[in-house]
């Protein structure tokens, strides 16, 4: 195998492929699509983040504008958490349109994250959204198929292949050369997209949040390079193993349909079928039931709380709650919040496990489907995947818990023990400066290490695919026939 011959094949392939006018048409269309997706991606990113930040400020202002009042009223006044759209979301929308953006955080209650784009849309959103990542995952492979399907089969049909081989070129050189040539063409399409993303990242540079965006982009870029090489090599391999260009094209189109449309959709549908999501009622009443068992602070005769009261009395050597050195109602609510939050988290973790099981079918299918592998890497690294969403949900729940407990502790400390229950009125209140002291929610993106952990199987499978493709290239060079 001589490098010079390989280079010759690669250069020759490049010249041949880029010569016809139709190539320029294809390239032009792709650039137009790139420009369109980039503009709508950037526009969507800025408007969404402006809207969300503006409302985060608005919600905070009305929180801080509260007068002196009973802390439990503030625990119910609550606050909102708005999910920040990640900068790399410009590149890959991921699940962005299907995950809610807003959650109301208050004491005792875990509210759902509402207002996803999909809830505002008609059924047409299910056709997909045009993003830069979609172009790379779905359109570019198809274009490479169109450009490369006749790479070997065409030479075979018109007889040039026989001449080439008889003049001393080897199969290995032919196939590697053409694969590299096609890969080089794919870079022609890939580079503009990469540049757009780099410019967008520079434009929306946010020094406050350290989300490792450049490292993330590096991993995304490298993965796409490997992916495009896999696609280029597969194109040439299929072309070499077909006896006519037409057959090669039909096979490649079949592969595309199977791997891009049918397999991913079936994998997720199977996950959903095998691991059914419980109904919201079943989920909530399971928690409710356990709360009643463990201790229901709303039930005046609850054994758990009666026992708790007795032991508190014993420690402080009193016989009435009003004689305690702190506000007992706040104490009970703190205990109640602790119990319900722990139970909620337990059940929420179980629910997330069900979702993960559903998604695992897709994740494991990336071993046989490089298209799924790159899709998962791309959205995980962009921070628009499932784990980033769950991460947001967990963070808001942590904040919610803190909010409730801080207010309960303020109540224990500052509200007179004589005020047995109720939070109405202007007498048992604390100063409004406490409201400002409690920090606002700030959405921190998911840690880089966690994203890496999440993307690891997909990264591994794309690596295996790269090695496998190399093997396939060698294998086909030995087995291919010139006629």
């Amino acid at each position: 195998m001589q490098w010079a011959t390989i280079r010759l094949f690669a250069v020759h392939f490049w010249r041949n492929a880029t010569a016809p006018k139709s190539f320029y048409l294809l390239f032009f269309i792709f650039i137009l699509l790139t420009a369109y997706s980039a503009v709508s991606g950037i526009k969507n990113h800025t408007t969404q983040n402006n809207i969300r930040q503006e409302h985060q400020v608005k919600a905070r202002q009305s929180w801080e504008a509260n007068p002196d009042k009973h802390p439990h009223r503030m625990a119910h006044f609550g606050t909102f958490a708005f999910r920040i759209h990640p900068t790399l979301g410009i590149f890959d929308y991921g699940l962005e349109s299907f995950t809610g953006s807003t959650v109301f955080l208050e004491a005792h209650r875990q509210n759902s994250v509402n207002f996803s784009e999909a809830t505002f849309s008609t059924g047409i959103l299910r056709f997909g959204e045009l993003s830069l990542a979609l172009l790379l995952q779905l359109v570019l492979p198809l274009m490479l198929f169109f450009i490369g399907f006749s790479s070997v089969a065409g030479d075979k049909q018109n007889g040039t292949l026989k001449i080439l081989l008889s003049q001393g070129a080897t199969w290995k050189e032919t196939i590697f050369g053409k694969s590299i040539g096609l890969f080089a063409i794919s870079l022609l399409f890939f580079t503009p997209i990469l540049l757009v993303v780099i410019i967008a990242l520079l434009l929306f540079e946010n020094p406050i949040v350290n989300d490792f965006r450049w490292l993330r982009l590096l991993i995304i870029g490298m993965s796409y390079l490997v992916f495009l090489f896999i696609i280029s090599a597969i194109t040439v391999v299929v072309s070499a193993s077909s006896n006519a260009p037409k057959n090669a094209l039909l096979r490649l189109l079949g592969i595309w349909l199977l791997l891009v449309i049918l397999l991913p959709k079936s994998a997720q549908a199977m996950g959903n079928y095998w691991f059914p999501t419980p109904s919201k009622l079943a989920f909530q009443s399971a928690i409710e039931k356990e709360v009643v068992q463990k201790g229901d602070s709303h039930n005046p005769n609850d054994p758990h709380y009666n026992h708790l009261r007795d032991s508190v009395f014993k420690v402080h050597n009193v016989s009435k709650v009003t004689d305690l050195p702190f506000n007992y109602s706040g104490f009970v609510m703190r205990e109640g919040e602790k119990i319900t939050a722990a139970l909620y988290r337990k059940h929420q973790a179980k629910l997330v496990d069900i979702y993960k099981n559903q998604n695992n079918v897709t994740r494991f299918s990336s071993i046989i489907n490089p298209f799924t592998a790159i899709k998962l890497i791309s959205m995980t690294m962009s921070g628009t995947d499932f784990s980033s969403y769950i991460d947001f949900q967990d963070k808001t729940d942590d904040y919610r818990y803190q909010l409730a407990q801080t207010m309960n502790e303020l109540q224990m400390e500052y509200i007179s023990p004589k005020k047995e229950s109720g939070s109405e009125g202007k007498t048992h209140v604390i100063g409004h400066e406490h409201w400002e002291d409690f920090q606002d929610f700030r959405h921190e993106p998911m840690a880089f290490a966690n994203s890496m952990k999440e993307a690891f199987p997909a990264l591994l499978s794309i690596l295996f695919w790269a090695i496998g493709t190399m093997g396939l290239l060698l294998f086909i060079s030995k087995r291919a026939k010139a006629i």
């Binding site: 503006e54 996803s116 008609t122 959709k265 997720q268 109405e424």
Partner: protein, 448 residues
């Protein structure tokens, strides 16, 4: 007749055709089974909510019999959007919007948009239901069956014979396509038959609409294919071009339109309404009680007789405050509804020129799983909520005991979606699209 039989034999001779025919039938059946599962899950959660509701009332009455106001703070009532069995064919938006809502008589706006438990990965991947098979995969089958209908004759050298022997070359091509069309229609009929059996569908007008629209849609793709093969280019070229058309119509255009609608019409109104609703209620804890109650009586003058209790905590004042959550966020809510209607109209408008998008929306409309029907259900839930309020408000204000209320009457209530379909509006886009394709292929047919 003999000719058609031969055409059929010629068509199904190839292995690829057989495989794709079997594959699409299987996928169609899988789609129906998945749709059926979706309906079953809804029925399960309806059964759940029925048993739960009784126990729920019993428990609440036993805990708070002497405090009806507190009881209604906790108690919720189910209102169910009973899915039309056709939703099994076109799941549409019924996977993202809850179909079983349980609401309390507190601020409605705070409960209206609560979502079900959903895995966003499932939503993004979309449902593999029969509508997907019809909209995405049948066109591909049309392409597989027709891309070489003419070119195989030229490529194998039989075209000249045909040209001499048949009365009309156009007639020859059309009858060849007709055989393939009938083959696909047979599969479609078979799938609808299976769907009727599995989903237990009644053969009503909506069912036949769905079937009829599918027939027209497949016809549209035949006219597209006819247009392309009438250029008499090579098989490879035809396959390439037809697939590019498929990619354009089914993937790129809708995806581009979605990106456009999303960035053109963001919905900040939803977030503003959420904050307005929160402030509308909570701020009243600190403002003048008299003013709150007066405002409440302006909305419900019939309750004026309950007076102005402003001393300490009382339920009249409390529910007046809750009412303000709804009343004070009305401006933002109206703006939100207006924006959603605007978005929907825009989407429908654009979709009407793209047959596959149009068909998806028409299917959802027929199955009762469209966005607008979801909004109607939410409005009906609002009315249900209002009914509960008007029933309970006087009882709470009078301080009645909980066991004087007949709780048995509160069984889960059902909402039935209405399908409003303007026949012309639904059919026209598909027929016009087909006619356009035929008209633009006219000049070509003269030069066959």
């Amino acid at each position: 007749m003999m000719l058609y039989k031969l055409f059929l034999q010629q068509c199904i001779r190839s292995k690829e055709v057989w495989i794709s025919l079997i594959l699409i039938t299987l996928l169609g059946i899988v789609g129906i089974v998945i749709g059926n599962k979706h309906l079953e899950r809804q029925q399960d959660s309806i059964a759940e909510v029925k048993t739960y509701q009784e126990q729920h009332f019993d428990r609440q009455v036993s805990l708070h019999n002497d405090d009806l106001g507190l009881l209604l703070y906790y108690t919720n009532f189910a209102y169910i959007n009973n899915l039309n069995p056709l939703a099994g064919l076109s799941i549409g938006q019924s996977d993202i919007h809850p179909t079983v809502k349980r609401i309390t008589i507190k601020t409605f706006e705070a409960q209206k948009y609560d979502t079900d438990l959903v895995n966003p990965m499932n939503l993004q991947s979309g449902n593999l239901d029969l509508s997907f098979v019809i909209i995405y995969l049948f066109p591909l089958l049309v392409i597989v069956l027709t891309f070489n209908a003419v070119s195989e004759e030229t490529e194998t050298g039989t075209w000249r014979l045909v040209a001499i022997q048949s009365k009309s070359k156009l007639g020859f091509i059309i009858s060849k396509l007709l055989v393939r069309l009938i083959l696909l229609y047979t599969i479609l009929i078979f799938l609808f038959f299976i769907a009727k059996l599995i989903l237990n569908l009644s053969l009503d007008i909506d069912f036949f609409w769905m079937f009829g629209l599918s027939i027209l849609y497949i016809l549209f793709w035949f006219t597209v294919s006819f247009f392309i093969i009438s250029f008499k280019k090579s098989s490879g070229f035809n396959a390439l071009l037809l697939l590019s058309v498929w990619l354009m119509l089914i993937i790129l255009l809708p995806a581009g339109i979605n990106a456009y609608v999303t960035s053109k019409y963001p919905v900040p109104e939803a977030l503003s309404a959420a904050i307005a609703q929160r402030d509308g209620y909570h701020v009243k804890w600190d403002t003048d009680k008299q003013a709150t109650i007066e405002k409440f009586y302006r909305h419900y003058p019939q309750f004026k007789k309950y007076g102005y209790p402003t001393d300490g905590f009382n339920w009249l004042w409390y529910y007046a405050m809750q009412q303000m959550g709804d009343d004070d966020s009305k401006k933002q809510r109206d703006a939100f509804n207006k924006k959603i209607t605007l978005r929907e109209n825009k989407s429908n408008q654009i979709a009407s020129v793209i047959p596959n998008m149009h068909l998806q929306l028409a299917f959802n409309q027929l199955a009762g799983t469209s966005m607008s029907q979801q909004l109607e259900y939410l409005n009906a839930t609002d009315a249900f909520h209002e009914k509960l309020r008007l029933f309970f408000y006087p009882k709470i204000f009078e301080g009645q005991l909980a066991d004087t209320v007949d709780w048995k009457q509160f069984v889960p209530e059902y909402y039935k979606t209405k399908t409003t379909l303007k026949p012309m509006k639904v059919i026209a886009p598909l027929i016009i699209a087909s006619i356009v394709m035929i008209v633009i292929s006219m000049p070509m047919t003269k030069r066959l």
